[in-house]
């Protein structure tokens, strides 16, 4: 069984996201350790791409800070090596397909496997094209985490059926316009997914408070929080690690209560 799927057993998972090397190597290592020690069940690490079309301005700015620090794929693997000296927290990468493609799928997945990177979230890898990577990734015990969007419609079942690890459900359309019936539509989609697979569903995009996390975890298996965490890193306060710890504990508590 997928190690990622095991993470979700008997609990709701909290999955924070940060961009690797934002604003520098040491801060990323420190932040992942802090999040892991304060309730994060999986940490999602972004490998920056020059043209992140699926990301909003907060993540785009974080990518720019990482590029300024000299990030590239090898640096990210070095960051993970350093993280592994201090925590075994399950890690997944979020990146664009060209990063893995240029590295070579085989070599990329081999490194992921050796460093305990258990999954890949790749926004521009559609269900239609995932065959070229999925077989290689799976042979290295790396799951391809598919995204389900509010616009997925008839595609939901096909995506769910082919998924392993967990499913990343995008909570809102694009970057703006969180709708009133937001939760209702999301829970209907989760129901449809549950009919065809027992792979866990985590919801992400635009979640920033413990209240939202609690509400959404009521009908899903986990919560992904990106921008809110990245913003704290951007602010760069001396109390950053303390703030991250408090934030992570707050979210973890909110989604643990009734689990």
């Amino acid at each position: 069984m997928s190690k990622l799927k095991e993470v979700f057993e008997n609990k709701k998972a909290f999955i924070p996201f940060i961009v690797a090397d934002d604003p520098d190597f040491d801060t990323t290592v420190e932040s992942v350790v802090t999040l892991a020690e304060n309730g994060a069940d999986i940490v999602e690490l972004g490998i920056p791409f020059s043209d992140p079309v699926a990301d909003g301005p907060v993540i785009q700015d974080a990518d720019l800070r990482a590029f300024k620090a000299g990030v590239n794929t090898d640096v990210v693997f070095d960051i993970v090596k350093k993280i592994r000296e201090r925590t075994d927290v399950p890690l997944v990468f979020l990146t664009y397909l060209n990063i893995a493609f240029k590295y070579g799928y085989e070599e990329f997945c081999t490194k992921c496997q050796s460093l305990g990177v258990l999954g890949l979230v790749i926004p521009d890898l559609s269900l239609e094209e995932q065959g070229e990577l999925k077989g290689i990734a799976n042979s290295h015990d790396v799951d391809i985490i598919p995204l389900v969007a509010p616009t997925s419609g008839d595609r939901i079942e096909a995506i769910a059926e082919s998924s392993t690890g967990f499913i990343y459900m995008v909570s809102s359309l694009g970057v703006t316009g969180v709708r009133e019936d937001f939760s209702k539509q999301l829970s209907t989609t989760v129901d449809r997914i549950k009919k065809v697979t027992d792979v866990p569903v985590a919801i992400g995009f635009g979640i920033h408070s413990p209240e939202q996390a609690e509400e959404l975890s009521g009908f899903s298996d986990g919560i992904i929080i990106g921008s809110a965490v990245v913003k704290m890193i951007d602010e760069g306060k001396p109390t950053l690690q303390n703030d991250l710890a408090n934030f992570a504990q707050g979210i973890k508590q909110a989604i643990t209560v009734k689990a």
Partner: protein
């Protein structure tokens, strides 16, 4: 299940290993809706009747195939024919594709068109058809391009479009595509993304190929009429590659017709200020397609450079990547200097002010024609007119003109 997922590399959405649909899930349903609608209407008699009516009676088709006699004599080799897409309404080949895609948008019940633009020609064409169809129009254009193509920005505004200067990245065509894709993600219901070049995820490269192939369909009939035989070579400029694929399309199966794509080499193919994608690029995945891209060894997309805002793109359409791989077409780099020389040459020799993009193709013709025999024929596509470039060419030559 895995078997179903693993696609054959060559199918309707791919060109060999190139092409495909590498796009966020948020857009996949809509992209497939566009593909389904295109499949439904592409052979529909009513759709085609309306398309041809607009091409002929609104866009001024068929465009001339003009025998450039003075240029031919001066170059002293092959006979040079110019396919005059610059004489189309709005002044470039872009209108051919926009009419097709906008008609499809209308059939799909869309009321708003969005587009990216480099030199502004595609933006102007989209704004034009939006005005004609009574549709809303928003155009995304790199901020740097809005500055070097001010005239086209105002033309778009005059036509009722809203122009968004894009300030991310290097502020050119690539960044305009990013912004247009993001805008599409946030508003799908009433919006159609009119892709301007033969790039992006399927079905865009296919649609652009089909709508632009009118260029070579006409050219083939015209050259047979004029000379009683096929040309020996076809030359067109390549950024994303829409006028080139349209110019090549009906000659691809005629193996004796050599196909040449002139890429923008900027300050030189071997410098870091270039946009010569086929010569310098490597395979990658970007803007929804697998194709050739200028990128670093980690897959970060390069900043590119050319004097031409329309060729200033780090990738190329997937069908061109395949034609290059199969060696069916040859892609050659033309520098800024060579293109500007051609700009001045065609103006003085033939009395035609051609777009700086098209002058990349002309510059190659100036090299190629003298190496060929007098009974051989070259067709060169003049993809657009050069009024928009006059100010920047003057600047390039250090001439101060009051705008």
């Amino acid at each position: 299940m895995m078997k179903e997922m693993q696609k054959e590399t060559t199918d309707s959405t791919h060109y060999g290993e190139f092409g495909g649909q590498y796009i966020p899930e948020t857009l996949m349903t809509e992209l497939n809706n566009v593909a389904k609608a295109y499949d439904k209407y592409k052979d529909d008699p009513d759709f085609n009747k309306e398309l041809h009516d607009l091409l002929n009676n609104y866009a001024n088709r068929p465009s001339l195939l003009y025998y450039a006699e003075k240029m031919t004599k001066d170059l002293g080799g092959a006979k040079v024919y110019l396919k005059r897409e610059d004489l189309n309404h709005t002044g470039a080949h872009k209108i051919n594709n926009v009419i097709g895609q906008a008609l499809l948008a209308k059939r799909m019940g869309k009321t708003r068109l969005i587009a990216e633009t480099g030199a502004g020609q595609h933006g102007v064409a989209t704004a034009t058809i939006a005005a004609l169809f009574g549709m809303e129009c928003e155009v995304f254009m790199g901020k740097m391009d809005t500055e070097r193509q001010k005239l086209n920005v105002y033309r778009m505004q005059l036509l009722g479009a809203k122009v968004h200067p894009v300030t991310s990245g290097s502020m050119v065509l690539k960044d305009a595509v990013n912004a247009a894709l993001q805008e599409w993600t946030t508003r799908i219901d009433d919006t159609f993304y009119v892709m301007g070049s033969a790039v992006g995820p399927y079905p865009f490269p296919r649609m652009v190929h089909d709508f632009q192939s009118v260029i070579s369909k006409e050219a083939k009939a015209q050259i047979l009429e004029a000379e009683g035989k096929l040309p020996d070579a076809v030359v067109a400029c390549v950024g994303g590659g829409s006028n080139a694929i349209g110019s090549f399309a009906n000659f691809i199966d005629d193996k004796d017709v050599k196909l040449y794509g002139a890429e923008a080499a900027g300050k030189g193919v071997d410098t870091d200020q270039t946009a010569a994608t086929v010569e310098r690029g490597t395979t990658g995945v970007f803007h929804g397609m697998k194709s050739l891209f200028l990128q670093d060894k980690f897959g970060q997309i390069d900043k590119v450079y050319s004097i031409s805002a329309g060729l200033d793109y780090p990738g190329v359409g997937p069908e061109h990547a395949q034609l290059a791989e199969l060696k069916r077409a040859k892609y050659v780099g033309i520098t800024d200097d060579e293109a500007v020389n051609a700009f001045e040459y065609i103006a003085k020799t033939e009395g035609i002010v051609a777009a700086i993009e098209s002058c990349h193709a002309l510059a190659y013709v100036m090299k190629l024609a003298p190496t060929m025999n007098k009974d051989q024929i070259i067709i060169c596509t003049l993809s657009g007119r050069g009024d928009k470039d006059v100010a920047s060419i003057a600047k390039y030559r250090g001439v101060d003109i009051d705008e």
